[in-house]
């Protein structure tokens, strides 16, 4: 398997389901088509330690990349749930975890990309240096596009120094509003936390603040709460709550996170939230179209991620797309014959 082979396969294709690690195939509208897998493109092409950058093929498992970078005291600051997830899949879906707080999303860490396009070409955008404004930022367009515009064959990434000291301060409350208010107070302080999350589960909640660096212990004194030094389990639990039988990702503002936690309480859901970014994940044991509709009416933009196929047929997993006409125009230019994950993002055939 080579990048050229992917491009050639696309040129001949009548429609494919693009797959890498296959851990998020249950996201988006259900589609059934022959798979085009990039899992075999699993070479870590470059790790430029001195430049804190790397170039990887999409099939590289996130865990394998993490181990490689860790040996140099570095990290790829992406920590979504990763039960076998690959870098290609994480970037294609724009998935992120608690490190989002400080380091941003895949869109903020991807420096460039090579993609195979349906016309059979291989195109590069961006670069492998951390600062570059030459040409259009097509890597951002492809990031989070769920493989509907092109198939990544190589991604270049920015790395960060891995912290050597860390701890987490935990503050608990059974009042959703109090938790959100306390989180807001902290997000407005210059703490330089690496992670700053909210959690709600089973009638009570917590605010988790991870501080890193040589002064972490000293800074923890300024954040009220219990100091947990062995915090790995806490953060693993935050990541885990982003997956489940039915998971909704809520895009809102900081001020409205209290509403999201209250909704979790009212519906018996587990909620984790990136407090500074107004992003939350609601995890349900089961759900139906009525539940999704009620939550969208109450909370605004909610994307249905994990869910049984019948639910993703019954409700639009994306909800309203702003600028949908323009998105369709972009899709039509990159994939005029609609061969890349057709139907996954847009419900009807594209106008011809």
């Amino acid at each position: 398997m080579t990048a050229e082979a992917v491009a050639a396969a696309l040129r001949e294709s009548g429609g494919v389901r693009v797959v890498s690690g296959g851990t998020k195939l249950g996201w988006g509208r259900p589609i059934e088509l022959p798979e085009l897998s990039v899992a075999e493109l699993d070479t870590l092409v470059e790790h430029n330690e001195g430049d804190l950058t790397a170039i990887v093929q999409p099939g590289v498992p996130l865990a394998a990349a993490r181990d490689t970078f860790a040996r140099a005291g570095q990290m790829l600051a992406l920590d979504p749930p990763d039960d076998g997830a690959t870098i290609g899949g994480v970037v294609a879906t724009g998935d992120s975890g608690p490190l989002r707080h400080r380091y941003g999303a895949p869109r903020d860490l991807v420096l460039g990309m090579q993609v195979a396009l349906p016309d059979g070409s291989l195109a590069r955008a961006g670069s492998k240096v951390i600062k570059n404004v030459a040409g259009y930022d097509l890597a951002k367009l492809m990031t989070g596009a769920f493989g509907t515009l092109g198939v990544m064959t190589e991604v270049s990434l920015r790395l960060h120094p891995a912290p050597r000291e860390w701890l987490t301060v935990v503050w608990r409350s059974d009042d959703p509003r109090a938790l959100a208010a306390r989180a807001s107070e902290l997000t407005h302080r210059p703490l330089e936390a690496d992670r700053l999350d909210l959690r709600w589960e089973g009638g009570s909640g917590a605010l988790l603040v991870q501080l890193c660096g040589p002064s972490a212990a000293e800074r923890a004194g300024a954040v009220d709460g219990e100091v947990v030094e062995d915090d790995e389990g806490l953060w693993a639990a935050q990541r885990a709550a982003q997956r489940g039988p039915v998971v909704l990702r809520v895009s809102t503002t900081q001020e409205r996170l209290g509403d999201v936690l209250a909704a979790a309480r009212d519906h018996g859901a587990v909620c984790v939230a990136r407090a500074a970014h107004g992003l939350a994940w609601l995890r349900f044991e089961s759900g139906d179209a009525e539940l999704i509709g009620a939550l969208r009416a109450r909370l605004g933009a909610c994307v249905l991620l994990d869910a049984p196929a019948e639910l993703r047929r019954a409700v639009d997993p994306w909800g309203p797309l702003t600028a949908e006409p323009l998105m369709r125009r972009v899709k039509a230019r990159f994939d005029p014959h609609d061969v890349l994950n057709p139907g996954l993002m847009f419900p009807r055939p594209l106008p011809q």
Partner: protein, 484 residues
Amino acid sequence: MDGGRNLIEQLRRICGDEHVVTEHHALRTYESDGLLQYAAVPRVAVLPGTGDEVAAVVRACHDAGVPWVARGSGSGLSGGALPIEDGVLVVLSRLRRILEVDLANQRVVCEPGVTNVAISAAVGPSHFYPPDPSSQIVCSIGGNVAENSGGAHCFKYGFTTNYVCGLEVVLPDGSVMTLGGKELDLPGYDLCGVFVGSEGTLGVATKIIVRVVPTPESVRTLVAFFDSPGHAGHAVSAIVSAGMVPGAIEMMDNLSIGASEQMARAGWPLDAGAALLVELDGPESECVARFDEVRALCEGAGAHEVRVARDEAERQIFWKMRKAAFPAMGRVSPHYYVQDSVIPRTALADVLDRIADLSREYGLQVGNVFHAGDGNLHPLVCYDGNTEGEAERAEELAGQIVVACVEAGGSITGEHGVGVDKKRYMPKMFTEADLDAFQKLRCAFDPDGLANPGKVMPTPRLCGEVPGPYREHPLEKAGLAERF
């Protein structure tokens, strides 16, 4: 401009007579942006006062088939806002309202003509807007969006694209679209992300939503002097390898130090081969813990002197030295040509050697100022435009530097943009297939090629119709699968 008179009358109806400029001498105000090597007088300049007026202006241009260029403060350094003769220049300087300061959600909503520094002023002192191009007092946020502007602090904080989360844009057909919003991760394509840095070729932003962040508790700044930029480069590597991400790491070479000293008079040693300005910001205790480490690493890399800014006034003098480097070069040389290439930071020593070789070969001095953390070089090629052929040789030398940077694995531009100035270098970095992919995006936004044509892409390209029809999948053909 066919039917030009009719279009000008329409523009007057939309914006009012006083906001439509057609006199040649008045139009000359707009003939160049910050890059004075290029000049063109547009047929008409129009200064809309609202987003609706911008949309109406763009629609009128579309209906008349007339190309247009958007201009913010005109401080860009790649000719991105260079007007088109026979075209319309849409000047956004009247759109300078901050529409909403939503501090609770750490968002500011503003019009494109608002200056970069005004955003930080609106949310200070508790918060600030991190991207800080050197021109931040005058440059507009709309221009920052077009160019994806950086600044001295982007090694730690990132670029414009990392802070813009929503846009209202007028597309070249005059339609208005909202891309993104105050919220992150909205479903669908990241059109906001791809619009940022598109250099005015996809449309014009009429409303911009940015993230602001808490102001760091503490800032500590030092300058270390070395025998050569190579030695200073080792210090940068040592600092980064130690796991630190300073707010800024800036380097100046001997020529730049000498020039800046004439303006800023900081009393820096004129015989130093390089000065390295390192700024740590963040929680007080973290800065304290790290600062001595930085100092030791500089000394370990051969710094013969380290000066620590004792107070804010001295810190400002340090920064004045750095920011004076461009204008001060005018005292050393009658003319100079600024480059903006990027290299992987570890290639610094090799690329500097190459630049020194080229400087000798062409007989022209080259000053070097870098954002050292992110490998963004600003070589200043000095020349005398009054000496015949020297300007051309300077440009050729600058081009050789760009090639050397691309060959080292870097980029032709780190923050100034491609504009007209660097489009000829695009093929050094991108293949025809890459450029074709760029054009696909362009055509989705601007199929008629009316928004800032002639910029970014090295050669003109047309869009054509979207091909169809669908390819039928074999399973579909066999009646075994339905597409939806």
